[in-house]
Subunit: 237 residues, 2 copies
DNA sequence: TAAAATCAGATTGTTGACAATATATGAAAA
DNA sequence: TTTTCATATATTGTCAACAATCTGATTTTA
């Protein structure tokens, strides 16, 4: 077994894997704007690789719905329309509801304690700096991610964390823009956690679904307002 | 607009798309057995293409979880383990429950009539030839697919029809193997349809979820029995 | 004999070039 | 001026060869 220390070699990622990860980040951060065209030669040069592995990465990104391809016409970054956001929130409600239900049964006492700890951190963060949206946003995802993990269902976890959450992060509109939203969200998180701690799966699912559909209602109005503003300022089309 | 008739050219599928479809069928039908290794050169020659487009197809199949890849170690057809089947049924319960809920609101009267017609066909099929499992199986998927479509949610439809249903079809174990199952399933389908016809979304979701978790219980025992049989016959490992 | 090292064959990862197609540009016609 | 057509350019689709890595069999060594 003298070679055991070289396992890092076989774990080495493939070029396609690397560029897949980097492109994903670039899309989510907005470096590659929504709707922009992916020109293979440009991207390939930019990352210093050939088009072969790049195309494989593109196919994978297509698979998780970050890119949209039309045969022979090119590939574009997905555009998050209003109705698409609604669809995503709907799927999320179903999946996370189930996730919470399972977590209520399967989450270990330690994980529950950690979850409660997380919420206390959020609490104090809100108390201190009201405006820090960023933490609120990522903290929210953190909460949801832990519950997805605790579902102990690989499929649920994958769908949520490697597909839905990415899209969610692409959507700049933070429900926390409403001043009272962070507090409200926190209290809902606490309710959900309590239901899980009580091993009440029915209630956990119900509360999670209500939490998400409530979040959608906020995002929905924010999106509508923005659309109206665009109509008013840019007008005429 | 003299070119409008040639749109068929631009719709022409790419080699990668074609082989993607064909490989998918081969996997589902079992021509490529579960756990078998995908050797790129062999498959490429078999389909008369080069490895480039094939690899793209492989990445896509990886994306919908029909293939599993280990960097530099090769790609294999997914193996449907017992626990994986359980995970799939759980996700399906969440997604199809939501689907039924939406369908209850959004399905047109015509679609509902067609759905009822479909069930009548199933009824008579069962009356005539009790054993025709095949039709029962595909008919079941047909029913569920129509409801997914009626949800009018592209994401739900995609996840169900292009991912979950494929895996489901890979699982040879038909719940209809239990003699009384087809009748039971049909009656549950009728109940669900009735709830949709009454525009009762709550009930439609509830019934759909119960229907699927019930189906899982049957499949579960079938799988367990088979495992026991294997243990008894092949023994010793 | 059993464990370790070595080597050859098989398989995957990557590249650059070529072919097929789409898009943009500008000239000709209405 | 606007539309239509033809051409050139840009971009995607495909291929075959090369390089890197893994796998399994054989040989060597203890």
């Amino acid at each position: 077994m003298t070679l055991s220390s070289i396992t890092s070699i076989s774990d080495r990622q493939t070029l396609s894997d690397q560029v897949f990860t980097e492109l994903k980040e670039a899309i989510i951060k907005g470096d590659l704007p929504q709707g922009s065209k992916i020109i293979e030669d440009d991207i390939a040069k930019q990352y210093g690789i050939s088009r072969g592995p790049l195309r494989e990465a593109i196919r994978r990104l297509e698979g998780i719905r970050l890119l949209v391809r039309k045969p022979r016409a090119g590939t574009r970054v997905v555009t998050l329309t209003h109705s698409m956001m609604e669809e995503i929130y709907t799927v999320r409600e179903a999946l996370e509801g189930m996730s919470a239900r399972l977590a209520a049964t399967r989450m270990s006492d330690i994980e529950i304690a950690e979850l409660q700890q997380l919420l206390e951190n959020h609490q104090s963060t809100i108390d201190q700096s009201k405006g820090k949206e960023y933490f609120q946003r990522e903290g929210d995802l953190d909460f949801h991610f832990r519950i997805a993990k605790a579902s102990n269902n690989q499929w649920l976890m994958d769908l949520l964390s490697s597909e839905l959450y990415q899209l969610l992060r692409m959507c700049r509109h933070r429900s926390s823009q409403t001043p009272e939203r962070p507090l409200r969200a926190l209290s809902e998180h606490q309710q959900i956690t309590e239901a899980i701690a009580n091993r009440d799966s029915e209630l956990a699912e119900l509360l999670m679904r209500r939490h998400i559909s409530g979040a959608w209602k906020i995002v929905n109005t924010l999106l509508s307002n923005e659309n109206n503003m665009i109509d008013n300022t840019e007008g005429k089309s």
